[in-house]
Symmetry: C2
Subunit: 345 residues, 2 copies
């Protein structure tokens, strides 16, 4: 059996020297290397931008969608949409585990998992497309896929609906990081606390900051804030536009008696909220930017411009145990689970 | 005397509710608020992008350059170039210190300082332009400026040339952060270690990692790497292109016996080096991105794609004591000072 690289570079066909994700074509031969996992694929969950593009190109015709999808995989060895550049994730069952992983992985043959690395780097072979579910961007297939040694995944829990688990797993990094960053007694400010990732962050923040801490939720709408209030996820609530940095600073100053936040978690889906995050946080505090709309230069120059020594962290979507930590929230909080099922499952 | 906001929002004329930097126009009346510092300005050090634009607009004519500069300050109350959006810094002498700052600042009337916040947020009045030094982007003036309470600055040291001090102060955040992040015994990898900020980082890394640590320098050219070797700033040297992530990973793997770096400092001036930074660093290591060419999304998605839990920090240009720490290097290392004077002063 051939020995593989942890990151799957042994499967890159062209251009050589790159990683599987940026590569144009990778090898989708289903004889595994010693450190790979073979998955029997059940469903592809195509990235929303990618699936929209494919539907348009196919004029919505199912047979044409199938043809385009098969074409992508044939050309590239992975479902990496060349137009949008994006992938998605998949659900399937473990079929084989490379011997080099023995003792290194908790997975067993027969486990049902969701991959948490993008389809844009996952070797895939589609034997047959069984059903295209156009409204939920999901496609049931017969096929196989490979998970690299560095590839992250989550075992699908048996005690909740698959769709609920998928929604939670999509944003799993944020609550897990919150759990690691917040200490007892901290004042935590969650910008975009009313959203899918934000609510999970509030929950973890309250748990970790404890009764001596304070958790502040910011959203823009009465409706979304009331939803969060009803479940009691935070101690204080602000309805405001996070692009208005001075207003946000004043509100947080008032709530904290001038002390400001120890930890700020940014979960918005819009640009230009770096300055609000900086001004709401203590000089020696910490900001975790989960939002993909974060601008590196606005954050770096913004903090310098106001002479703040704040530590600012780039929101890595992965952290150890992130799937476990976030799925556990759905078991701990009946109210949050109900709200989540209503909104996202 | 009127009470001012720490960040200078009291001087914003339009649009209200923003900070002085993004504001279109600020108040440059030179009667200070209780927490402001009045500076008698000697020289404006115009940002290179801004000065290039002004020179072009003026067809290189000195009188026209003066006219454009005076026009900017008259319209905006600050030297905030509306075309490039950038500012610069200034050198001057402390003339007055607001009473609310007593006991809060080390500055004394008569101190000569460089402001380390951008001219794009500094209230400025120019009474006369005395000399335009076109080749070094410097303009000698008679005029006054205001430093806000949150504004950072450095006292110009008397034991080195002004230009040398300015070059060091320009990148002061990087070595100061390095000093704070590196622990004894660490393996430190400086990408772009042959540049202006990189060399200072190497010096601090070596000092902090100590004899049980290991410092690795990456540059692209024989010439620049040899320069650094001669001064002995690192333990190991790599000549390679930092956009080639697999190659970089292999080289660092070889040098570290497979252990990889505890701390990686990214000081390059080109894009697409996020993945090399991630792959060269331990899973539980730390990456400090000082480079302004860093892409937030490439870093966040890149780490997730390879399942790495690496902590990634946005390079805030400011950290407490950064000017002191970086200027001190010029006193400690005669060799580095000579090299710096040759290259940048
Ligand atoms: N780092 C990663 O790996 C990773 C993974 C997944 C997602 N993400 C990113 O995480 C972010 C959030 O994702 P999500 O699924 O949680 O989004 P979401 O459910 O759509 O939530 C968006 C949140 O932003 C708030 N918001 C919108 N405009 C605002 C404004 N002007 N001021 C203040 N708050 C505002 C919303 O508040 P209201 O509803 O009250 O208006 C809501 O709370 C996105 O940027 C996404 O790209 C990152
Ligand atoms: N965060 C902040 O507040 C702040 C403040 C100032 C500057 N900066 C940023 O810091 C960065 C560096 O500034 P600097 O003044 O130190 O720049 P610099 O002196 O021009 O140095 C650039 C370095 O990048 C290296 N480099 C260029 N292309 C490379 C490649 N393909 N692979 C590997 N290395 C490569 C160069 O190596 P060779 O010379 O060997 O080719 C050199 O070591 C810039 O991006 C700047 O925007 C940030």
């Amino acid at each position: 059996m051939k020995k593989g690289c942890k990151f799957g570079t042994h499967r890159v066909i062209e251009p050589k020297g790159t990683l599987p994700q940026p590569a144009w074509k990778i090898d989708n031969d289903m004889n595994i290397y010693d450190n790979e996992i073979l998955i029997d694929v059940q469903t592809l969950n195509i990235d929303s931008a990618s699936f929209t593009q494919i539907k348009e190109e196919a004029n919505g015709e199912v047979e044409k969608i199938k043809e385009i999808m098969l074409g992508i995989v044939e050309k590239r060895g992975k479902h990496h949409n060349p137009t949008t550049g994006s992938g998605g994730m998949l659900i399937g069952t473990i079929e084989k585990i490379g011997p080099a992983l023995e003792g290194k992985t908790d997975l067993k043959v027969g486990d049902k998992i969701a991959t948490l690395v993008s389809l844009s780097l996952t070797p895939l072979r589609i034997d047959k497309i069984k059903e295209v579910r156009k409204n939920v961007d999901q496609v049931d297939v017969e096929g196989k896929a490979i998970l690299f040694e560095s590839g992250i995944y989550a075992v699908i829990p048996k005690d909740m609906p698959e769709n609920l688990a998928l929604s939670v797993l999509d944003v799993a990094g944020a609550p897990a990081q919150t759990a690691k960053l917040v200490k007892p007694g901290d004042t935590v400010f969650v910008i975009g606390g009313t959203g899918k990732s934000g609510m999970l962050c509030l929950y973890e923040a309250k748990k970790r900051a404890g009764i001596t801490g304070k958790v502040i939720c910011l959203g823009t709408r009465e409706e979304s804030v009331n939803r969060v209030k009803k479940v009691g996820l935070a101690d204080e609530y602000i309805i405001a536009d996070a692009t208005k940095s001075v207003e946000i600073m004043e509100k947080v100053k008032e709530i904290t008696g001038g002390k400001m936040a120890d930890v700020t978690i940014n979960c918005v889906n819009i640009p230009n909220t770096e300055m609000s995050s900086i001004l709401a946080t203590k000089d020696d505090g910490l900001i975790y930017f989960f939002s993909m709309a974060t601008s590196f230069t606005k954050a770096a120059l913004g903090a310098e411009g106001v002479g703040m020594d704040t530590r600012m962290i780039i929101g890595n979507g992965y952290t150890k145990g992130h799937a476990k930590i976030s799925l556990e929230i759905m078991r701990e909080s009946k109210e949050l689970r109900e709200l989540y099922e209503k909104l996202y499952a």
